[in-house]
Amino acid sequence: MKSTTPPISTVSSNTLEATARLPLGKRIGQWLENEAVLGYVLMVPALLLIVVFIAYPFSLGVWMSLTDKVVGTPGNFVGLANFAKLLRSEIFHQAAWNTVIFTIAATVIKAVFGMWLAILLNRKFRLARFTRATVLLPFIVPTVLSGLAWLWMFDATFSVFNWVLKWLWQMEISVFGLALKENWGYVRGPLWLGSPSLAMFSIILVNAWRGLPFFAISFLAGLQTVPPELYDAGNIDGTNEFQKFWHITLPLVKPIAVVVTVFSFVVTFSDFQVVYILTRGGPHNSTHLFATLAYQLGMTSGNLGEGAAAALFMFPILGLVILWQLFYLRREDSGG
């Protein structure tokens, strides 16, 4: 058997004739010895999935956005009418603006508090491993299910936050005796999901709660690569904690921090679940994001063309992020 096997590297032209007479199984085996052939063959399952369920739907989405398709009809080509209609509509302006605020606020909160938590978790303490595992829980469990808990905590009548506020207020009255104009016995407290700005605050809070552990644990992985000697050197130079963070920790953690932040930006920007569970875009469209607007137009109202167009408005921003990321990774690669 060994004697019939050609040299390992590649099938050269004079052995092709010999291999042609081999049984099929062996011929395939030898064919796969070719590095390029094997390379392509191994890519087939992944590429098939990507072409059928990502590339094709994407181009279909572009086509749908140019039609007036509603559920159950083929739809007619209408050019850029859907995009023009969206750009003129108030609800779209609102959603675009909401997405900007939501993405920036949530990402900043997650990055800042995530870094703080990472620095805390980077210390040596009892139960350190257990604590690290525990704080990741919000990120592990299904977002809509933990979102339900938040919906219940934000309930108009039975909100636990309002119960605490009311309790604090009564404590204040019984201790200091200062009764102000409103009597909390009758006032329910803030409607967390019922007023536009508070509802935006609430969805940002829940998104940040859910995503913060991802930042913290990724940053922690970055922190653990910082050599302790650098801090010792800092100690000798008499730097304070903040200076050490700013001049030693931050520059070394920056590469991973940038990638994590960009990745989270994409996920936050395209978020759907938090809004769907908590507000469905309300009150008065004050919490609609691109994704929830697309869902409402495409799925709830059945205007598939318009919905596809609304979703595609995310693409330019995502495209920019992807290009930047590719550029950044390549520069990191070549820069070592």
Binding site: T5, I8, L32, E35, A36, G39, Y40, M43, A46, L47, L49, I50, F53, I54, Y56, P57, F58, G61, L120, L121, N122, R123, R129, T131, T134, L136, I140, V141, T143, V144, S146, L148, A149, W150, W152, M153, T157, F158, V160, P213, I217, S218, I256, V260, V266, D271, F272, F290, A294, Y295, G298, M299, A308, A311, M314, L318, V321, Q325, L326, L329
Partner: protein, 282 residues
Amino acid sequence: MQAYVGETFFKRLIVFYIPLFLFVAVMLFPFYWMFITSIKPDFELYNVRRSPFIVSQATLEHWFYLFKETMFARWAWNTLWIATASTAISLFAGILAGYSLSRLRFPGSATFGISIFITYLVPPTLLFIPLASVIANLRLLDSPWALILTYPTILVPFSAWLLMGYFKTIPRELEECARIDGATRLQAMTKIILPLGMPGILSAGIFSFTLSWNEFLYALVFISSPQQKTIPVGVVSELMKGDVFFWGSLMAGALLGSIPVAFVYSFFVENYVSGMTGAVKG
């Protein structure tokens, strides 16, 4: 790790223990809230005069309701089957692609690598409307296969990307030795790289499983009949009907839907974390 020698206990309390305790409390409070709500009888649940933090007459009625009056057990089974099958498909495709891109040189491999990376950053919310019509044309609407086949589009780019990085850390010489001993390229892959890459594969698998268990949008759009739903969609759509929500059973469902992933995660924390951080680092 930074050493903090000579720090007084008081300073340690202020800069470390208290902030850390607050972080942990905020992260875990919603879970406590799910639990306490799920065991409260209704008269305690809907009474603003009582302290909501404690329960005086704990009950399992909401948990029983979940199994007797809803299809929760069926949803759990669906979720498990869909998550397992899509994880298996993703690992298969991801391992092959990851190996190919990290080990084999062929024209266009860089382009494939970039396209995998691009699809990694394409969110489901961008595609769900046209994808729904693709699924409808394949006659897969309302079938678990709609999800088993589409979840890998989220998971394969991630797994391939993660495994590419992982396979690169395995010394090339090991494979070359095997090939000098007469192993074919495929044998070198299955006998050398796969066993050595097991930690990476496990990370990709755990991560994929939790992602598919938690997926919501595709399951919401592609599945409509109650008996085909997954836990996240079932709990949200079947238990939140009308104006009155049954918060006790909703919270029981939310907790019960979270426990399996938390359980799997607790056994593989290290793998999960290395999967998570490895996937962003590439």
